[in-house]
C-alpha cells in the first residue's frame, strides 16, 4: 500500500517560506498569485493490506514523529 502524508503549518502559524515564494512569484510576473503556503509531503510505502490498520498506524506515525502538532497539522491519503 502507498500512503501520502501532508504536513503543513496550522492556520495562524506564520509561514515565511510560503510568503517568500509568493513574493518571488510576484517578482516573476505572476500577478494572479494570492496566498502561498508551503508544507511537506511524505510518501510512504507500507507492507499492509488492511486499509483501516494502515490508516491507524499512519496516524500514529504522524503523532509520534512526522508532525509536530504544536505548529503543524497533517492529512493522510491512502492509495490502494
Amino acid at each position: 500500500m502507498k500512503a501520502r502524508v501532508f504536513v503543513t503549518l496550522k492556520n495562524g502559524v506564520l509561514d515565511p517560506q510560503g510568503k517568500a515564494i509568493g513574493n518571488a512569484l510576484h517578482g516573476l510576473g505572476f500577478g494572479q498569485v494570492g496566498a502561498v503556503r508551503q508544507g511537506k509531503v511524505i510518501d510512504i510505502e507500507l507492507e499492509e493490506r488492511d486499509h483501516a490498520k494502515a490508516q491507524a498506524s499512519l496516524k500514529d506515525m504522524c503523532e509520534k514523529l512526522l508532525a509536530n502538532t504544536v505548529i503543524e497539522k497533517y492529512e493522510i491519503e491512502l492509495k490502494s
Binding site: A20, I21, A24, G27
Partner: protein, 732 residues
Amino acid sequence: MTDITPQTVREHGLSVEEYGRIKQLLNRDPNLVELGVFSVMWSEHCSYKSTRAHLRRLPTKAPWVLQGPGENAGVIDIGDGDVAVFKMESHNHPSFIEPYQGAATGVGGIMRDVFTMGARPVAMMNALRFGAPDHPKTRHLVSGVVSGIGGYGNCMGVPTVGGEVNFHRSYNGNILVNAMCVGLARGDKIFKSAAEGAGNPVVYIGSKTGRDGIHGATMASAEFNEDSEEKRPTVQVGDPFTEKLLLEACLELMATDAIIAIQDMGAAGLTSSSAEMGSKGGSGIELDLDRVPQREENMTAYDMMLSESQERMLAVLKPGREGEAERIFKKWQLDFAVIGRTTDSGRLIVKHKGAVVADMPVHALSEEAPVYNRPFERRTPASGSPPYDRARPVMDSLVRLMASPDIASRRWVWEQYDNTVMADTVQRPGGDAAVVRVHNTDKALAITTDVTPRYCKADPFEGAKQAVAEAWRNLTAVGATPLAVTDNLNFGNPEKPEIMGEIASAVDGIAEACRALDFPVVSGNCSLYNETNGEAILPTPAIGAVGLLKNVNRMATIAFKRENDAILLIGDTKGHLGQSIYLREIEGKEEGAAPPVDLSAERKNGDFVRSLIEAGKVDTVHDLSDGGLIVALAEMALPTRIGAKIALPATGDAIAFLYGEDQARYLVAAADAERILADAKAAGVSAVLLGRTGGDKIAVEGAGEIAIAALARAHEGWFPSYMGGTELSPSN
C-alpha cells in the same frame, strides 16, 4: 554487450587517437564498461592531461612539507608532532546547474579528501566567483551556493571561517565554487592511498551506490553550450548527516592499525578510487560488484563503476581485520562490505553476476593516461597607466567603493556559515586571514584564499604572482609564518592556445612567487573548460594558503584598538592605478598594466611586519589590496568605529596615492611610532608615519573627510539590499 561505435567513443569525451591508444593498451577493443572506466580516468578532471606537464614546474618541497601533491591532500608539519592537512577543490559546473546541491557536495568532497588522510577537518574556506550582479541568474546562484555551503558545513560541525566573493560578467555562465578544507592530525597517523600487497580485503564504506552523477567527471571536463542546461546532466545530492557519520567512523577506524590504504570516492567513484589505489600501490584489484551496497535496482556494472554517489570511501585493510572495521561502521549506521581484494596481477578486474565485465591493466588507467603538450600562446601583458579625472572628490569615491560589489562587506554570506563551532576560531571572517587555534594548545593556523582575476586577465604571470603574494601577505598580517599553498586553477578551454597560454603563464607566476617566498604548493586542483558559447572566464588561479602562529597571544587584527595610535604605512607607494578597483568602479575602465609584484620587497616588508607582531610591538595590521590605502584605512576603522586622521606625503597625486594598488604594503597602528620607524630603518624597509587614530571620521588633510557611520552604511548595505527579497533557499 553494446557495440562501441565512433559515436559512443565521442559521447565518452574520448578522441579518436585516445580510443586507438586504449585499444593498443588492451590489445583488443574495450567493452562498454571498460570504455566508461577509461573515459573517466582519462578525463581532464582525473588525468590533468592538459596541465600535468605544466604543474611539474611548481615548487613542492620544503623541510616542513610531509606530503606534497599526489595524495588526497597536502600535509605540512606544524611542530610538536602535529600536522596540517589541506586542499582546495572546485565544484563549478554542478553548482551552476544546481547551486545548493552543487556547492554542498563540493564541500562534502573536499572534506573527504582531508579526513581520508586521517585528519579531523577544523576549518573550511570558499572562494566564489559569480556573474555580474545585474545578470538575471546571479542572485539565485549566490543564494543557492551560500546556503549549500552552509547547509553542508554547518551540519558537519566544521567552522567555515572565510573565503572570497567576486562578481564579474565573465562568470555569467560559469560560476566558480572553490572550497578548501584544513584538517589537523598527528604526523605519525597519516593515511595514504597506496594499496600495497596482495590478498588484502578491499572494503566499501559509507552510503549506498545509486545512479548519481554518472559522467560527472566527464561533464566537468567539457565546455558548456546553450543547450547543456536542457540536457541537464545528473547532479548529486549531498547527505551531510551521513558524511558526519563517515567522518567519525573513519577516524575511529584510523585509531586502530587495521588500515593499509584508504581513499575517498570522489569524481568517478569506484573507478578512480580503485584504479588510483592499485596504481599507487603497484598492485592489482579485483572487485565483485554484486557485493556493492546498492540503492537502486538493476544497476549495471557500468552504472556502479561510474556512479558518483557521495559519502563513500574505499579502504584496503589488513587481512582478518574486517570484523573489527565492520563493528565500527555498524555502530555509525553505515554500509560496510568487503567488495574485493588486492592482487599481484597489476590488473583491475571487475566481476558482476558471475562474469568478468572488465579487465584492464591498472597502469593503463593512470600512468598511461594521455599527457598533452597543448600548443600555447603567451599573451602580451596589458600595459600603461590609463588617464583619470584628477579633480574628482576623493571621499565621494571612497563611499562608492565601499558599497561596490567587490568591496562591500560579505557579512551577508559569512553569517550563514557557522564560523565558531569547535570553539577554536580566534579570528572570524572579516580580517586578513582566519585564525583557528590548534585545539588545546597556544598555537594556531592562519588560513586565507586569494586571487585577483582582473590582474590575471591583464597579465597572467604577474597576476598569478600577485595571488600568491597576497595570500602570503594576508597570513603575515595576522602574525603567522606562511607555510604552504594549495591552488585551484580555474580557466577556460585549454584546447585554445590563448587559454593554454594563460595557464602556462599563471603556473610560472605561481612557481616564481612560491619559490621566492618559500611557500611550496602541496596540493591543488584544476578546473578547465569554464566557457560558455566560446567566452572564457577571467583566468582565476585561486590560491589557498596556511600559516602558523606559534603563539596565538601574539596576533594582529585589522581593527583599530585605541585612540591616538600612530598609523604607519609600510612599503613603497608609486600610485599604481592600472587594473585597480578605483579605475573600474569610478572611471569605468578595466585597463592598464596589472600592478607589478616585487617579491623581494614582499618578503622584506612582510618579514618586518611579522617581526613587529611577534615582538608584541604591534597588534593592528592590515595589508593593502583592492582599493588601496584609503579602503584599507576605512576597513580598519569600521569594526570599532575608531576614526583616523592622516596627511598625504608631499609628493604625487592624492587619488593615485590613496587608491593605487601597489603591492607589498601594510598599514600598522601602534602607540609608539618612533620605535617602529627606527626598526624599519634598521631593516631597510620603507615606513612613513601617516597620522593617528581617533574621532569618528576618516580625514585626509587636503582631500576631505567622511563620517565612519556613512562608510559603514555603504559597506554593510550593499549585500543585504542586493540579496533582499530573494531569500528562497532551494532546499528543505
